[in-house]
């Protein structure tokens, strides 16, 4: 038996596999998983739907990662890093499933993450903005996690086994994320005058982006029995927000929804300016050296 003091040494074993320098494609998150599309399910729509859910997680994970080394406490560093990691893992599996369902979109998760342009991303606009302060961080995370948890709870019983499995894995993680964010919203809302004001202001910034989460999209309509009906998630979401806001002594802001552009929003590839900055940071190096290997 060979003893390895450092299990990571094994990754440096010399072989002929040249790995692409910027991605994670040498470890397929769906290796060996049966990715056959179930009978009667629209493959192209399923791929788009996986992109939608994957992009949500990918972009928010990036925004969370930008907070690392800037958070007020070490415990928040580990929390936000782990939440970002959970979301990145969900994004990888979803993007890999999208590529498997419709290879015309992109060969694999790396092509999809690093080489799509802004108009090809399918995330909701909620995840694009950079948080101005910690209150916005936890406020947006609460809204996102409560929504995504309700959505994933619905997907667990869906007809696509792979999506159902990804959702089953994600449900427990999202519950931890939601509870973490909710506890902070309460602490800030039910805190000092300053923390309450910062939390109140954060909610007014976040709230215009909430209605988009529950807008039914035509991709979802092409996936009966697989996709969740976005509008049906609203009661579960409201129940959670009501509970948290009541404990925090805060109210739902009176904010008009962020307008669509000719009826098109994030799910249609129409994004806010903020997404450009995320993609510039995420993609710039890979695009500059697209064939680099190591």
């Amino acid at each position: 038996m060979i003893e390895n003091d450092n299990p990571y040494d094994l990754l440096a074993v010399e072989n002929d596999d040249h790995r692409w320098a910027f991605g994670t494609g040498f470890t397929d998150p769906l290796a060996g998983v049966d990715v056959t599309i179930p009978d009667g399910v629209d493959a192209a729509a399923l791929a788009q739907y996986c992109l939608m859910l994957g992009d949500d997680a990918l972009i928010l994970s990036h925004r969370l990662q930008q907070w690392i080394a800037r958070l007020p406490e070490l415990e928040e560093e580990t929390a936000v890093a782990n939440i970002a990691l959970d979301l990145l893992g969900q994004a990888r599996m979803l993007l890999a499933r999208a590529a498997a369902a419709d290879p015309a979109l992109g060969a694999d998760e790396d092509r999809l993450a690093f080489f799509r342009s802004e108009g090809q991303f399918r995330n909701v606009r909620l995840v694009e903005r950079a948080d101005a302060d910690f209150a916005e961080l936890v406020g947006r995370l609460l809204v996102f996690s409560a929504w995504r948890l309700a959505l994933f709870e619905h997907l667990v019983g869906g007809a696509d086994q792979v999506l159902a499995a990804i959702a089953a894995k994600g449900v427990n993680e999202l519950a931890y994320h939601r509870d973490y964010a909710g506890q902070w919203v309460i602490r800030l809302g039910d805190g000092t005058e300053l923390s309450r004001e910062r939390m109140r202001r954060a909610l007014t910034v976040i709230w215009p982006l909430v209605p988009e989460l529950f807008a039914i999209h035509q991709v979802e309509q092409r996936l009966p029995g697989v996709a969740a009906d976005a509008a049906s998630l609203r009661p579960a979401f409201d129940a959670v927000l009501d509970q948290v806001l009541a404990a925090a002594g805060l109210h739902r802001p009176d904010a008009a929804p962020l307008a669509a552009i000719r009826n098109r929003q994030g799910r249609d590839g129409v994004h806010t300016e903020a997404l450009g900055y995320v993609l510039a940071e995420l993609q710039a190096v890979a695009r500059a050296h697209p064939d680099a290997t190591w």
Partner: protein
């Protein structure tokens, strides 16, 4: 029996982050089968973003290859989702010996996940201190150095320790 030996070799693979535990102790190793002339090992990730899975896969291939089993294929199985309930009694004992509190039973529920909002020293599950055995422990952080662990402090012996969260 080829498969039984292959299982034994695979089951001896340590977890890179918790090297006192093997992938069998953690319930990550799901299956070892012969398919044609290849040995197929099936593993299940603990958390969606768990970064240890590639290392575990590489280590499995290396150990099985060295033991004479080749070719080796490592497959991921996502469903049923990994739960901390799959950590064996042996695994829990080893965690405790290493000063990490093992998880309690993961709650199985059928409906939506209830919101946990209690904050302060009483929040989080009651965990026994692996050093002194006291139940007077406080959660200091919901997340630790890895996604699977939380940080606690014992109010009796004042030692900090990690706790594997139930999921």
């Amino acid at each position: 029996m080829v498969t039984a030996t292959a299982w034994a070799v695979a089951a001896g693979t340590p977890d890179p982050e918790l090297p006192m535990l093997t992938v069998a102790d953690l319930g990550i190793l799901r299956d070892v089968e012969q398919e044609g002339n290849a040995v197929v090992v099936t593993i299940t990730p603990t958390y969606s973003g768990c970064p240890a899975l590639p290392e575990i896969a590489a280590d499995l291939r290396h150990r099985l290859g060295t033991a004479g089993f080749a070719p080796v294929e490592v497959r991921t199985r996502l469903a049923p989702a990994w739960t901390s309930d799959w950590i064996t009694a042996d695994g829990r004992r080893k965690l405790e010996q290493a000063g990490i509190a093992p998880p309690g039973p993961a709650t199985r529920r059928t409906g939506p996940v209830p919101l946990t909002l209690l904050t302060g020293p009483t929040s989080g599950p009651t965990v026994t201190c692996p050093q002194c055995g006291s139940r007077l422990t406080t959660r200091t952080a919901q997340f630790g150095a890895t996604a699977c662990k939380a940080l606690y402090r014992c109010e009796n012996c004042h030692e900090p320790f990690e706790y594997v969260k139930e999921i």
